[in-house]
Symmetry: D3
C-alpha cells in the first residue's frame, strides 16, 4: 500500500473542470490528485515562418509553474529573463505529442497555442498537462467553423508517469514518491494504445529491460482510464470518429 | 443602468476561495465578477541586500496575466525575455501598497512574496490583486509562530477602480467599460479610509477637480464593502485589532 | 522655512535652455533647481504596428538616469540587460501624459520619441521630465510642414511633486526632502487646470482625504507657474491657441 | 540496403581522436560517420549552490552546434541571447545520463563540465555526444590525484539512435534518414546493458509496442559495439573495474 | 580648405566645462566642435572579483550615445537588451587607455567608473571621450585623501582622429568628413608623446605605410594641443609631476 | 631565443586543413602553432536591412572560444545571455577587415557569414581567424556561379601580432609571451602590403614611435609568409588576379 492508500497500479482521483477560463477558446482545469494544471488553447490566424504558404497549421505549447504552486516558491522564468531548461523540455514534449494526433493540413494555416500553467504541483505535472491539453484543444477546435471540413483531431492522447520506488513499480507518482524514485518514466499513448512519446530516466540507478516491460504494462492501465475520460468529454457525437482500443490484456474493460 | 445591469455605484459580485493553493503559506482565488486572480503569499527566510541586518522584513509582489486570461492570447513575459512595462508598474504598486499596512520591524528579517496571477481578465485586475493579496498575506502571517509577538498587519487594505464612461462616473469597471473610459482612477485605502495610493489617468480627455471629488467619493463606497469582506475573512479574533471606520457619509453602514 | 530657504509653496528656480542638442528636432535642458534633465523629441515616419493604417500618430517616451547623475553611481539599464522597474513606470507615465495633449489624428502617421535623460538627479526628475518633454515636443512639431494643417498640440502640460515632510505640505521636493517624505504625490495638469495624471503614494504612512485636498491646492500653484513658462516659450503666435486658465483662487495671477 | 550501403543494423564508422584539445583536462573528437563532435571535460573546484557542503560532486553538460556544422547556417545561441530549446533539452539529457555512471561522492566537491560542440551535424549528434562525453570524462578523471581513492566512474555509457524509415527499423540514422523517420528513439545504456535513458518520439505516426521491442533490440547491438570501443579506450588497467555484459542474444560477442 | 573653414591640420574648437554634474566625484562636458560628451568619474570602494586582495585598483569605462545625439534617433542599448558592438568596442578602448596612465597600486582597492555619454555626436566621439575622461578622472582623484600618498595619475592622455578624405590627410574629422573617409585612425598618446593606443581601419581602401607616417605626424600635432589643455586644467601644482614633451618637430611649441 | 626555440622574427608553424566542415560552403582549420581556429564561410541569399535594394552584398563575422579551448574553462556567451565585449570587438574587426578585400557590388545581394570558432587558444586567435577567414571565404566564393562574373575577392588578407616582451620585439606571440607583453599590436595587410587594420595597445607601458616602426617592420615579415600560403591555397588560376608585392626590404623573397 502507498502513503495515500492507493494500490500500486492505481491512478490518483482525476477531475476535470471544463471552460475554466471564459475568454480562451478552450480551457480546462485538470487535477491528478493534488496536482492541478490550467490548460488553455487559443487559436491564432497565422503560422510560424517555416510554414508560411504550406497550407499546414501548427500546434505549440508553453508550460510554467506558478510561483505559489510549490512549498518553496518557484521563481518566475520572466524574472530570470529566460525559460528554465526543465520548462523548455516539458513544453517541447507537450507540443510534439499533441501534434501527433492533429491533422495539421485539416487545421489549415492556424496556430494553436496550448498553455499549461501549474497552479499546484504534486508530481506528474507534465502528464496531467498532456492529458488536459488534449481536452482544451478539443474544445478550441469545436469553436472553428466545421462546415464540410474534417475535424482536425485524429485520436485521443493521454500520459502517465510510472516509477520505481523501493523496488516497487508504481503508477502515477505523487511528489513524495517521485522524489524517492530511482527510475521515472513518462509514457504518452493514443486511444489506440500506440506510442507517441516515451521518456524514461534512471539518474540514480540504471534498470533492466525486464523492468522496462513491467513499467510499460502498468502505464497502459493508467492511460486506458484517462482516454476513457477523454471519450466521455468528447461526447457521443465523436464515438465513431475517436475510439479506444488495443490496450493490453491486463487492462480491465 | 450598465450593460450587466449594475447601478453606477455598484461593485461586481465579489467572491473569495480561501486556501486555493495547498502548498503556499497563504493563497486565495479572488473574483471581481469575471475577473479572477490567484493571490498567493510565500515566506522566505531572508531579505534583499539593502535590508541585511536591519531587523526589518520586506514585502514584494509579482503580477502576471496567464496567456489564456484574455480573448487575444497574452504573450508570456518569460518568452519575451523581460517583464512588460505594464506588469512592472502593477507589481510595483501592489508591493508598495501592501508595505503600507505591514509593520516590517514586527515581521523581522523575512520576505513575503505576493504573487498575483490573473487567470481571467475582465477589467480591474490590479484592484482585485491588491484586495486579494491582503487576504493571502493575512493567512500566510497566521502560519508564523506568534508567541508574544505583535501581529505584523496594521490595517485592512483594498482597492477599486472608478472611471468615467460616457460622462458617467462608474464604480469597478469591467473590461467593456474600461476600454471606453476617458478617465481611469485606482484608489487604495485602508480600513480607516486613509489613502495609500491614488493613480488616476486621463489619456483621452483631461478632467476637472470637481470630477475628481466625485470619483473619490464613489471609490470609498466600493472600498468600504471590500474591507468589510476582509473583516469577515480575518474573523472575530481580530475585530479589536483591525477595525473599519472613517468612510464618508455616502457610504451605507 | 526649508533647508534651501524656500517657502513651503515655492518652486525651485526653473531654467530652460532651448535647442540643447543640435541634431534633435526639439531639445531642451530643463532645470528644477539642481535637478537637470535633457528632453529631446525626435520624429520618426512610422507608427507602432497597432496603429498601422489608422491615420493616427503616436507619442512615446524613454527615461533614464545617467550614471553620474547621483552620488552613488546609478548602474546603466543596458548593463543590467533590462530597463529598471522605476524607469519603466516613469517613462510610461511621461508618454501617457503627453498623449493627452496631442491630437494624434492631426499628427498623422508619425511617432514622436520623447527621450528624458537625467544628468543631475536632485528629486522631482519625473515632473521636470514631463514639463521639459512638452517643450521639446513643441519645438519638434514646429519643424513639421504646417501648411493648412492644425497644430497637433492642444494644451500646455506641466507637472510638480508635492510631499508631506514632518507633517508639512511642501511643493517641489528636492532629494533631501523627498527621502524623508511620508507621502509623495505627482500631479500633471494642462494649461486649463485639468487633471491628466495623479499619482500619490504613502508608503510610510497613509493619509486622510483632507490632506489630499491641501496637496492638490498646493500643486496647482506650482503648475500654474510652469505653464506660464511654457506660454512664454511658445511665444505670442500661439497665445490664442494655447491659453492658461481655471487655476484655483490661491494661485496668484 | 541503405543510401550509404550500410545494413539496417549497422553503425556508421566510429572514430575517436584522443586529446583533441590540448588545454582541456579531457577532450576527444568523436565521429559517427560524418557527424563530428568535440567533447571536452573540464574540472572546476566548486559545486553548484545546492551541493555546498554535501561532500558530493556534480557533472553537467553544455551542447551547441557550430554555425558551419549544417548546410543552412545555424544561428548562434549567444546571438539570440538565449539557448535554444533543442540545445537545452539535449544538454540536460547528456548531463543526466553521465551522472548515472559517476559516483558523485567519490568525486568529491568538484564540478565536471562536459562540453559537446558539434562541428559537423549529420544526424545522431546527441548520441555521439553522450558516447564521446564519457571518453572525455574518463580522461579528465585520470588527471585527478587517485591515491587510495575510488575511481569515480562506475560503468561505461553509450548511446545510439534507432528510427523507422519507410517501415524499416534502422540503426544509427544519418541526417537524410532522420529527416524522413516516422519514429526516432535514442537509447542510453551502460556496459551492463542497463537502461539509463530512453527517449522515443513519434511526431509523424504513433507506433505499436511490438515495434518498440524491435527498436530496443537493434539499439542494443549498436551500443554493444560502442562500449567495446570505450573498453579499449580505457585500457587494460580498468578491465576488472569496468566490464561489458548482459547484452541480448542478438548481439554478437 | 575644409567645409567648416579649418586647415587640414587644425582641431575643431575645444571647450571644457568643469564640474558639469554636481553629484559625481569628477565630471566635465567636453566639446570638440559640435561633438559634446559628458564624462563623469565615480569612485567605488571595491574592485572586480579578479582583483580582490590584490591591493590594486581598477579603472573601467562605459560609453553610450543619447538617443537625441544624432539626426536619426539612436535606439537605447537598454531597450535592445544589450550593449551594441560599437559601444562595447569604444568603452573597452577608453578603459584600457586610461589604465595606462594610472598607477593602480597607488590607487588601492577602488574602482573608478568613467562614464562617457555623448549628448551630441558630430564625429570623433571616442577621442573626445578619452580626452574628457582623463579630466574627470583627474578631478575625481583629487577628492581622495592624499596624505603622504602618491597621486595615482602618471601622465596626461589625449586622443584625436585623423582620416583620409578625397586623398587629403585631415585632423579631427567631423561627421560629414568621417562619413566619406577612406581611412580612419584614432591615436591615443600620453603627455610624453608615447603611444597608448593606435586603431586604424581602412574599410574602403587599404593604405600604404607612407600614408600611415603622415597620419601619425598629423595626429601628434592635435594631441599636443589637447595635452596642453589638460596641463592648464591640472594647474600649476602638478607642473612638476605631469609634463608635456617629446612631440615631433612639426608640432609648434 | 624564445621559450619554444623560435627566433624573434619567426612565425609559429602554420597549418591549414581545407574543407574541414563538409556542409559549409567554405571551411578550414587553421593552426598558428597550438592555436587552432575553425573558420567557416556560409552564404545567405539576403542582406541586412540597410543594404536592401542596394545591389551590394555584405560580409560579417562571428567569433567565439569553445569552452575547452583554454585551461580554465571559458564560459559560453550563450549561457551569459550576451556576447562578451572581447568577442564583439574581435568579430567586428574580422568582418571589417575582410570587407576591405571584397568587392561587395560584384558579390551582389548576398551575405557571407564568417564564423571563427577557436578550438584551442594559445595566443594570436584573432590573427589566425583573419588569415583563416580569408581562406574559407575564398572557397565559399568558388562555389558561386561565376559565368562572366568578376570574382569578388580583390586581394589577399592576413594578420599577425607583434609584441614587446622584456624589451624584445617578438613576432606572433604565443599565450605565455602574450601574457607578459607590455605592448600588443595586431596588423592586417593585403597581398600588396597595404594596411587594412592596425590595432596596437600598451596597457602596461606606453611606447615610442621608433618602437612602432620596428614593430611594423617585423609584422610585415610575418604577413608576407602568410599571404604566400594564401597564394598557394588559391592556386595557379588566380596568380594573375591576386598577387603579392610591395613588402619591405627586410622581407626575404
Amino acid at each position: 500500500m502507498r502513503v495515500d492508500g492507493r494500490k500500486f497500479d492505481e491512478l490518483r482521483p482525476i477531475k476535470v473542470i471544463r471552460n475554466f477560463q471564459k475568454f480562451a477558446a478552450g480551457s480546462v482545469l485538470i487535477e491528478f490528485g493534488e496536482t492541478k494544471v490550467i490548460c488553455s488553447a487559443t487559436i491564432e490566424d497565422k503560422v510560424p515562418a517555416f510554414l508560411k504558404n504550406s497550407k499546414s497549421g501548427w500546434v505549440t505549447s508553453e508550460y510554467s509553474l506558478l510561483p505559489g504552486s510549490t512549498s518553496d516558491r518557484t521563481a518566475r522564468d520572466s524574472t530570470q529573463g529566460k525559460i528554465s531548461g526543465r520548462s523548455q523540455e516539458i513544453q517541447r514534449m507537450i507540443g510534439r505529442a499533441l501534434r501527433a494526433v492533429v491533422d495539421l493540413k485539416a487545421l489549415g494555416e492556424k496556430t494553436i497555442w496550448l498553455d499549461c500553467d501549474v497552479i499546484q504541483a504534486d508530481g506528474g505535472t507534465r502528464t496531467a498537462a498532456v492529458t488536459g491539453a488534449w481536452l482544451a484543444l478539443f474544445d478550441a477546435l469545436l469553436t472553428l467553423d466545421r462546415k464540410n471540413k474534417k475535424f482536425p483531431i485524429t485520436d485521443f492522447l493521454a500520459a502517465v508517469s510510472v516509477g520505481i520506488v523501493n523496488e516497487h513499480v508504481l503508477l502515477d507518482l505523487d511528489y513524495s514518491e517521485d522524489s524517492h524514485a530511482s527510475v521515472d518514466l513518462n509514457l504518452v499513448l493514443t486511444g489506440q494504445a500506440r506510442i507517441v512519446e516515451i521518456q524514461g530516466t534512471a539518474e540514480l540507478e540504471p534498470f533492466d529491460f525486464s523492468i522496462l516491460q513491467e513499467i510499460l504494462n502498468m502505464a497502459q492501465k493508467g492511460i486506458f482510464q484517462l482516454v476513457r475520460i477523454q471519450q466521455d468529454f468528447a461526447g457521443e457525437f465523436f464515438h465513431n470518429l475517436l475510439t479506444v482500443k488495443g490496450f493490453n490484456d491486463s487492462v480491465p474493460e
